[in-house]
Amino acid sequence: MATAEVLKPDHQAKRKHFIFTDEHEALRESIRSFVLKELTPHAEKWEETTFPNSVFTRMGELGFLGLDKPEAYGGQGGDYFTAIVLGEEMTKSNSGGLAMGVAVHTDMAMPPIVAFGTEEQKLQWVVPAIKGEKILCIGITEPDAGSDVKGIKTRAVKDGSDYVINGSKTYITNGHRADVIVLVTKTGEEEFTLFLVPMDAPGVIREKKLEKLGMHASDTALLAFQDVRVPESAVLGEVGKGFYHIMWELQGERLISAAGCVAGAQRTFERTLQYAMERKAFGRAIGHFQVIRHKFAEMATKIESARQMTYVTAWRFANGEYPVREISMAKLHASRVAVEVADECIQIHGGAGYMKEYGVERAWRDARLNRIGAGTDEIMLDVIGRSYGL
């Protein structure tokens, strides 16, 4: 056994976290090589055009859209960590919009169907969604109800054996390409119900494509629902339990998004490290100036703290706990770290960082959404604070 005298820091050691097994690492390798070979080369183009639907069919073929979904519906039957691995490796595409489009499909819209759907609903939507033949989206936010989910106005009114839906939803990722939407509606004063509404149902109107600060590769829609008639069988889960279904769904998704934030920050960090080794000013590589060295040290520390927080919380979640407080902490912290790291990397790049060519500015624009989407920083702070009875 080594003694203290001969122990040297080994910064190059492969660091496998305890939550991951060799199988997870093998999966990571295979996703990574797919992403780098088939997605990353198109990232630039897709920023202009949004990514094509064929990404879903290709990922379906490879089995990447149902990693943690039951084998009975075509999934791989893996654990929650396989979804984390996917969320992390998708960031290697250098396209936040692409990663988000896929994540909304696999980690936001699909889980409630798997968890609360009837056998018929699963066969109708989950099976083709895992194959990448049908694309999913989820509708929560409305023009006048963002953080205040209970303030939504979209109504589903019972009419005979049908429901008639009226309202509008905004900031809907995959909204233009989706085949079905998991729709949050009000069925009573304080009563929320989820519906699976086919996007080709009469009265579903895909309004304009929304332009955004970042996430340009994803399509984001404003949707209107005008007298959309759906049968009772379109109800997802229990009537009146929609709010709880959605809150549950958001927890799992928030951790995966936190993992994506950490991986994205790591990638931007590494690219910038490379730049700081190569770029010279005042006769030396800029990374060798103390202030720049310390910036890297700060960033690395932040990334590591966010990573450990996310992994440990994921481990608890995967082991059957429901640690909403810590999930909120991880989401808050990882989102902030991702934005701060991207911002610092812009600064280290100087003028080049401000130019699109280097891709760092895009990392910031993409990362910036995380402090707003799927629960803003302020909502996370509220959830954490309230968890102490405040």
Binding site: T141, D144, G146, S147, D148, K150, G151, T170, Y171, L210, E211, K212, L213, G214, K280, A281, F282, V291, I292, D343, I346, Q347, G350, G351, G353, Y354, M355, K356, E357, E361, W364, R365, R368, L369, R371, I372, G373, T376, D377, E378, L381
Partner: protein, 379 residues
């Protein structure tokens, strides 16, 4: 509510400038941002109002005012809704023409300053190169002595007005040795050997920021601006005003962003009451108002000293450092308060954050400001 060094006379000018910009520029700002270009006629329009020569003597077509008048224009331009447009006008007024006014011969002034004030010729300043940003001494663009002038070869980058400029006040190496001591300035007209390619950026979309390559460009003797090998002095001379102008731009932009965000917070309902009635948001806005006010005070103090003829390098550097980071952070907080709406492509808050992000990089990065302050403090 007139804050020194401004007086009532200045505030009248401000009102008239604001009225003009609101009518003529602000309504087009979004379109120009989208097109990533603002039309050259903007210069002509501004010239017709005397806004390209506020601080220049009347004998050259200027208004005979001073830097305080120019300061008003800078602040007001930051409110039009397009950082790129303000940057293009600012590059012309605040960095390209001042060296000609200060260091130029009478002939230079007649040939470049007079038409620039009329909006007939557009100017740019060319210092930064791909391998020489913060480190000015690393410049490599060379001017080789030939009969009757120089032949210039090299590449300049991140040049505001780089596509549209008729003349570029360019830093070149006139001697291979000597770092700082080998730099001179030449006024280079667009012509043979000068080619520009536009760069795409995080913000300042309406600005035609470009890389300019100079290939065997002949520049006649008389286009030497300032003394031979004395270019570094010229660079330093204008830094103070350039940095003050950036601070002033941030001050104007911050005030406006705060006001608009506070209004949004009063109007937008969440959980049954306006956002502003949620304590965390109210306190956030209180912080933003404080930041905007501190930025204004620091900047106005430096401006007053500058105007009085002191050489307030320390105060100007501090103002530049403080306001640029503060402005970006304030814009980012405004974006956050707007939530999903602020993230949308047509929203002013995300545009303002993108535009403000240049501040801690351009005109001397935060790191360079801290280096200067360190030296001034004897550290």
């Amino acid at each position: 509510l007139i804050q020194p060094p401004f007086t009532e006379e200045h505030e009248e000018l401000r009102a008239s400038v604001r009225g003009f910009l609101d009518r003529e520029l602000a309504p087009c700002a979004q379109e120009w941002e989208r097109e990533e270009w603002f039309p050259n006629e903007v210069f002509v329009k501004l010239a017709a109002q005397g806004l390209l020569g506020l601080k220049y003597p009347t004998e050259y077509g200027g208004q005979g005012g001073d830097y305080l008048h120019e300061a008003i224009l800078v602040e007001e331009l930051s409110r039009i809704g397009s950082g790129g447009t303000a940057a293009g006008i600012g590059a012309h007024n605040n960095i390209a023409t001042p060296p000609i006014w200060k260091f130029g011969t009478e002939e230079h002034k007649q040939r470049y300053l007079v038409p620039a004030i009329r909006g007939e010729k557009i100017g740019a300043l060319g210092i930064t190169e791909p391998d020489a940003g913060s480190d000015v001494a690393a410049l490599r663009t060379s001017a080789t002595r030939v009969d009757g002038g120089w032949v210039v070869n090299g590449e300049k980058t991140y040049i505001t007005n780089g596509v549209r400029a008729d003349f570029i006040v360019t830093a070149v190496k006139t001697t291979a040795e000597g770092g700082h001591r080998g730099i001179s300035f030449l006024i280079i007209e667009r012509g043979d050997g000068v080619s520009s390619s536009k760069l795409r950026k995080l913000g300042w979309h309406a600005s035609d920021t470009a890389t300019i390559s100079l290939e065997d460009v002949f520049v006649p003797e008389e286009n030497l601006l300032g003394g031979l090998h004395e270019g570094f002095k010229l660079i330093m001379a204008n830094f103070q005003w350039e940095r003050l102008a950036m601070a002033l731009g941030a001050v104007g932009a911050m005030r406006m962003a705060y006001e608009r965000t506070a209004q949004y917070a009063r109007d937008r309902l969440a959980f049954g009451r306006p956002l502003s009635k949620h304590q965390a948001i109210r306190h956030k806005l209180a912080d933003l108002a404080t930041t905007a006010y501190v930025a204004r005070c620091v900047t106005y103090d430096a401006l007053r000293r500058f105007h009085e003829g002191q050489e307030p390098i320390k105060e100007v550097t501090m103002a530049k450092l403080m306001t640029q980071r503060a402005s970006y952070e304030l814009m980012d907080a405004c974006l956050q308060i707007h939530g999903g709406l602020g993230y949308m492509g047509e929203h002013w808050a995300q545009r303002a954050a993108r535009d403000a992000r240049l501040g801690p990089i351009g005109g001397g990065s935060d790191e360079i400001m801290r280096e200067i302050l360190g030296r001034l403090e004897g550290l």
